[in-house]
């Protein structure tokens, strides 16, 4: 069975690498659903490409999809207006719903490509081959390079949170560049893994890591380990019970998150106990 799981496993490792990192940004920015929205905009771009008669899977079609993603990135960068009369999550939510609907409307006119709708959501991780893994690895490496080079402004903008004005110079340009690189990653990874798995890879490892660690380095390393643990859990379950691989990994990541939250809860309770009833606290914590 390992022969069919070999490339999906490699793909998981690559996906965990970039998504955990970007997830830390996303959580810092508190724009959780931006990836869903961008993924959906990318899918709409792909549908537009098909409507325009571009051959599916071609480079032109990919850039068509990417073009729409950049458009979305531009909208989200502008969405952080001074005063924030409209929360950015609202802009993201609107973009998600409208681009989903438009993608469906376009696909309903084309008749073919129905599998696009299905695989958009759950993905087809089991069919990943060396070609696709090589492609996403190259794309993610390029994005990672951009992020290493510009790590200071990127993190400054992400950490600024709501007080974005004045945090960095050219803040909107950096914001756009962030969303653009983010869009490049999501456009590629959704094709391989589907929206659900990409969302989980972004949020779960980063959220687990942020519960326990404060420094970026520690969060990144912990996030990778949590991501790999969730993937391993999902892959094992998929192999053991013959379940769809991508979906099983989402469940595996969910279990990891539940365990982390439980462990954190135990720790918090124990600390409170220790601080309030000093001497006997240690014993009570022990018996749990």
């Amino acid at each position: 069975m390992i022969d069919v799981l070999y490339w999906p496993i490699v793909a998981c490792i690559v996906l965990v690498g970039i998504h955990c990192y970007l997830g830390l940004h996303v959580l810092m920015r508190e724009v959780i659903f931006v990836d869903l929205a961008l993924a959906q905009i990318a899918a709409m771009g792909a549908a537009v490409g098909v409507l325009a008669g571009l051959p599916p899977d071609s480079a032109v079609a990919y850039f068509c999809s990417l073009g729409f993603t950049f458009l979305g990135a531009g909208i989200f960068a502008l969405g952080r207006f001074r005063g924030r009369r409209v929360p950015q999550e609202a802009v993201i939510g609107i973009a998600y719903a409208v681009s989903s609907a438009l993608a469906l409307l376009i696909l309903s006119k084309i008749a073919v490509e129905q599998h696009e709708i299905e695989s958009m959501l759950v993905g087809q991780l089991i069919y990943v081959g060396p070609g696709q893994v090589a492609k996403i690895t190259a794309i993610y490496a390029a994005v990672a390079l951009v992020h290493v080079v510009f790590r200071r402004p990127f993190f400054a903008v992400s950490e600024a949170g709501l007080n974005i004005e004045g945090a960095v110079r050219h803040v909107r340009a950096w914001d756009f560049l962030f969303y653009a690189t983010f869009g490049v990653v999501v456009t590629s990874s959704v094709q391989v893994a589907g929206v659900l798995l990409v969302f989980s890879y972004l949020i779960v490892p980063a959220a687990c890591a942020m519960i326990f660690f404060a420094s970026l380095r520690a969060r990144l390393i912990a996030g990778w380990l949590f991501g790999l643990a969730g993937s391993a859990l999902g892959l094992l379950a998929s192999a053991r019970w013959d379940l769809p691989t991508g979906t099983a990994i989402v469940a595996g990541l969910g279990i990891v998150f539940a365990l982390v939250v439980a462990a954190h809860g135990v720790r918090v309770v124990r600390q409170r106990f220790v601080s309030s009833a000093a001497p006997s606290g240690a014993d009570a914590g022990h018996t749990r």
């Binding site: 069975m1 069919v4 309903s108 008749a111 129905q114 019970w241 013959d242 769809p244 691989t245």
Partner: protein, 316 residues
């Protein structure tokens, strides 16, 4: 008002619409394949349109208002029956045309008289198995001889709706049946060199076709549509194909061709897209062209990988 109208009205009891202004029977079908057969049987006395386009999957059509509007003008609505098209009951109800309801003469179930395959035995019926069809596999129109049975059903419906042209419909049916018989004989002859050749299918749409032309289906890549197979299923599927020497994977236009190609690559074979409907591929311009295209494409795939039970030069 002409006498045909009176006849229909008396037959249908409900307020049936008048036959078209030019006295044509207006037929709406669920699929383009049924439309093509209806056109051939109806000849000059009918106008025909299909709800579905060619390349779609008839399991997954979303009922639209335009479908219902189309049905409003129909004297006959022909559909695949069984549980093939979950959207059909919706658009029949939405059309509010009493004469098209189930059991009424305007509602023509094309599966009548077909010897269905993969009918679940009593007691083992469970939706947990995913894409199980309660009444049997509904892809019966891919066997050309079932096409003749469909044509007979349509001819009977037309005669009931428009009896003055009975002789024409009978003659059109006889001609159609003759053409299909000749075609089937010719294609069976061409496929003789590949008798018993093992193949795999991406989805279980092909048992009628496979049996008609003497092939042997050994594996299914994706038994549940839309859900990726588990690793053991996929691994078993590849292993079964290797053991049986199956190197061709049949798939349809609405599936991701890359998935079938993935499996084909693993066994050193190739994936081939066959036409599941008239219009699914540009070559499938009619029912006969569809059947011929499927045989051609399959033979081409067999030849490309050099798979043949008895290689000979007699294939025309």
């Amino acid at each position: 008002m002409n006498h045909q109208t009176c006849l229909i009205a008396s037959l249908a009891l409900a307020a049936a619409p008048a036959l078209g202004a030019r006295g044509e029977v207006h037929i709406v079908t669920s699929t383009p394949t049924l439309a093509d057969i209806a056109r051939q049987v109806g000849g000059g006395h009918v106008s025909v349109e299909s709800v579905m386009k060619g390349p779609e999957n008839f399991h997954n059509i979303i009922a639209k208002p335009s479908h219902m509007m189309r049905l409003r003008k129909a004297d006959l609505f022909i559909h695949l029956g069984l549980d093939a098209e979950p959207w059909v009951p919706l658009i029949i109800r939405g059309s509010r045309q009493g004469h098209l309801y189930y059991g009424e003469p305007g509602n023509v179930d094309a599966s009548r008289g077909i010897a269905l395959k993969e009918v679940p035995a009593r007691g083992e019926l469970t939706r947990a198995e995913g894409d199980i069809h309660v009444f049997g596999n509904p892809h019966y129109h891919l066997d050309p001889l079932n096409g003749v049975i469909i044509a007979r059903t349509i001819a009977d419906a037309l005669i009931a709706a428009d009896s003055p042209h009975r002789d024409d419909y009978e003659k059109n049916f006889q001609d159609f049946a003759g053409r299909i018989d000749a075609l089937t004989t010719r294609l069976t002859e061409r496929m003789r060199a590949y008798q018993g050749t093992p193949i795999a299918v991406y989805h279980r749409s092909w048992p009628y076709f496979v049996d008609r032309f003497g092939l042997r289906q050994v594996a299914e890549v994706q038994p549940k549509p839309g859900i990726e197979p588990g690793p053991r299923h996929l691994s078993d599927c590849i292993e079964t194909m290797e053991r049986a020497g199956a190197r061709v994977v049949i798939t349809e236009t609405f599936n991701n061709i890359r998935n079938a190609e993935y499996v084909a690559e693993r066994v050193g074979g190739r994936a081939v897209v066959l036409a599941h409907e008239v219009g699914a591929v540009p070559e499938a311009t009619s029912y006969e062209a569809l059947v011929e295209y499927n045989v051609d494409a399959l033979i081409e795939a067999f030849q490309a990988i050099g798979a043949t039970a008895a290689p000979d030069g007699s294939t025309p």
